[in-house]
Subunit: 360 residues, 2 copies
DNA sequence: CTGAAAGCGCTAACAC
DNA sequence: GTGTTAGCGCTTTCAG
């Protein structure tokens, strides 16, 4: 095709290959553009961006001006490639709709942003298969770190993770098994045990655990197991675990209460796998005229925002989602700069807190 | 420094520069490695990855085997650089803790993942300054698109956005002003008006609007304005707007009800800026013995998961956060492949739905 | 303190 | 159908 007919932009020589090609987006301002304008080389600009006082004040001036005038926006993709590692932290949670993880992701992202790290988010919907796929694409970004929820992953996922040589921190669970690399969380079994002990201390003997999707949510299942085990250890009759197939919502809690009323007469106290379920229980108790904690004591998990002001205020166990986020960030920062943190600091237990209010 | 003492790995010639340097992470398996093993060139591997049936079956076989044997994980950073545009969509919301945005982000990320696009998340905490910074780093990733919440941004942010030539879609708001590029949402003024009309139809005349952080949350403020304006238009006395300084929680709702009871005797109905506030109002009404809707009608906004099962079930307005997410995803996909969508399709109104239950 | 040079791993023309 | 060739925009030795 004869290009001579095309009006060339005058003196633009065709040597060196194509004229600066116009891709679908107008060409970005590059570091080279800045360098040219400032009368220095691009590597000096690069240096300036990284350590401003490593260049002479004069050059620094010029560069700063050029940066400003051109409205330079760095290209982190190029930077990541050149530096063999991007400033991305990939975070995979079961569900972002879940207030627990939302809180953690929020605090994590705040902390990481201060360090110039970006959060790339994925949610697995409690599926190990989905999680594995997510991990695979996460790795494709050569992330600075990868954050996972829980300790159980598919075998392939674990292999992927260990062979990638990327710092990985697992959060929101501790004790179920050894972490791949680092972990921040707490024991869900211990949470269940705390609830059981709390009820036992008040003299309740006929207990039950109310949960939703226990077969998928292994952490909730661990709380249930901890609850049952501790009750038994304390010599109480073995509590029933009642499971709802749908996600944990107030609606599920209300239905669960109905089942419990119908099938477990004489029940004195219920532990709920989370505060939303407990809220539904509270609602349904009101409707049925069962007084809380008089007729039935209830304890939740999560200490969500409504829990302090419900009727009655909900006794619950607080896991500190934001603390988890901050600690995860700390571990990531620690492993970003130099080597990995010392053995002893690679697992941090954020514990849990019993918040005694009026429901049980 | 004399390197001759170092045991060289035998025949490794030093010509051509450094021996394959070992960075902090063991060298990844590259496309070149795969190509070598499969006995083809790297561009054939690249082609195979993109369009498997564009290469001969024989070569395809070999490549597939090599891919598998080596455990190849593509480097999307390099790919993004070469292709002049990464497969990242940057999403900036005011707060990920907010159930509305969590829902949208969840559906958005599900849709986008199916298209091989990653969500990079940022939250501005309702600060335009923070948002601007977030936009700046977002742009540094040469994203396939950028998703923002609301229509108001700092001047610098708008400039950044328009000059970047990246598809941008603003969500969760419509009508306040023209979008930068595309928008998916609904009118918050209309939501407020719907609430006012709903109350008017039932014969209530003494109304109030209960909100939190109205100076920061412009969309909530728009709902308040719409509510007041419509009430006035219908000939009712101008409703008071009561604002709470802390974030919108049930606790805030409870306090708001207290203020309203003390200062606005004779009040018949309140519209709340979201369901969490309405829930707090319900709780506080119970404590004070004010019956809902008998003594006071209440309407919320959001239709959160507990709203259908509270006492009484909450009348509310549903914004469809997941629909917004899906529509945003659709626009992004549409602008990813070819040009931008036709003018008429660049703004999509997801509307709102009045959900009449028992509270008002 | 500054610049030249050599890629990072991949994509995309463009030949063959 | 497949290989060759140029980079994408930046970081990073390594000289000077």
């Amino acid at each position: 095709m004869d290009r001579s007919a095309i009006k060339s932009d005058a003196a633009e020589p065709e040597v060196g290959g194509r004229v600066r090609r116009q891709r679908r987006k107008m060409q970005r301002v590059t570091m080279m553009d800045v360098a040219n304008r400032a009368g220095v080389s691009s590597s000096t600009v690069s240096l300036y961006l990284r350590r401003p006082d490593a260049v002479s004040p004069a050059a620094g001036q010029e560069i700063a001006q050029a940066l400003e005038a051109l409205g330079y926006v760095p290209n982190l993709v190029a930077g990541g490639l050149a530096a063999a590692g991007s400033r991305v932290v990939s975070v995979i949670v079961p569900s972002i709709r879940n207030a627990f993880f939302a809180e953690t992701v929020a605090s994590l992202q705040t902390e990481l942003a201060a360090e110039g790290l970006q959060v790339m988010l994925g949610h697995s919907e409690y599926s190990e298969t989905d999680e594995e796929a997510l991990i695979r694409t996460a790795l494709a970004w050569a992330p600075a770190a990868i954050v996972l929820t829980g300790l159980s992953h598919s075998i392939a996922a674990r292999k992927l993770l260990t062979s990638a040589g990327v710092p990985v921190v697992e959060m929101w669970e501790l004790g179920a098994q050894a972490p791949v690399d680092m972990a921040v969380g707490f024991s869900h079994t211990a949470v269940g045990a705390t609830a059981a002990r709390h009820f036992a201390q008040q003299g309740f003997t006929r207990l039950a655990f109310l949960g939703a999707r226990l077969s998928q949510d292994r952490r909730a299942a661990a709380r249930a197991e901890g609850f049952v085990a501790e009750a038994v250890r304390l010599g109480l009759p073995e509590p029933q675990i009642i499971n709802h197939p749908a996600p944990a919502t107030a609606e599920a809690g209300a239905q669960l209460l109905g089942r419990v009323q119908a099938n477990l007469p004489g029940l004195q106290a219920v532990a709920c796998s989370n505060d939303l379920i407990a809220l539904g229980v509270l609602f349904e108790c009101q409707r049925r005229g069962v007084t809380v904690p008089g007729d039935l004591a209830v304890i939740g998990f999560g200490d969500l925002s409504f829990s302090s002001t419900s009727n009655p205020p909900l006794t619950t166990i607080r896991p500190s989602g934001d603390l988890i986020g901050r600690e995860v960030a700390r571990l990531i920062k620690a492993s970003a700069h130099g080597e990995r943190p010392p053995e002893a600091e690679r697992i941090v237990d954020t514990g849990h807190l019993l918040v005694e209010r009026k429901s049980g």
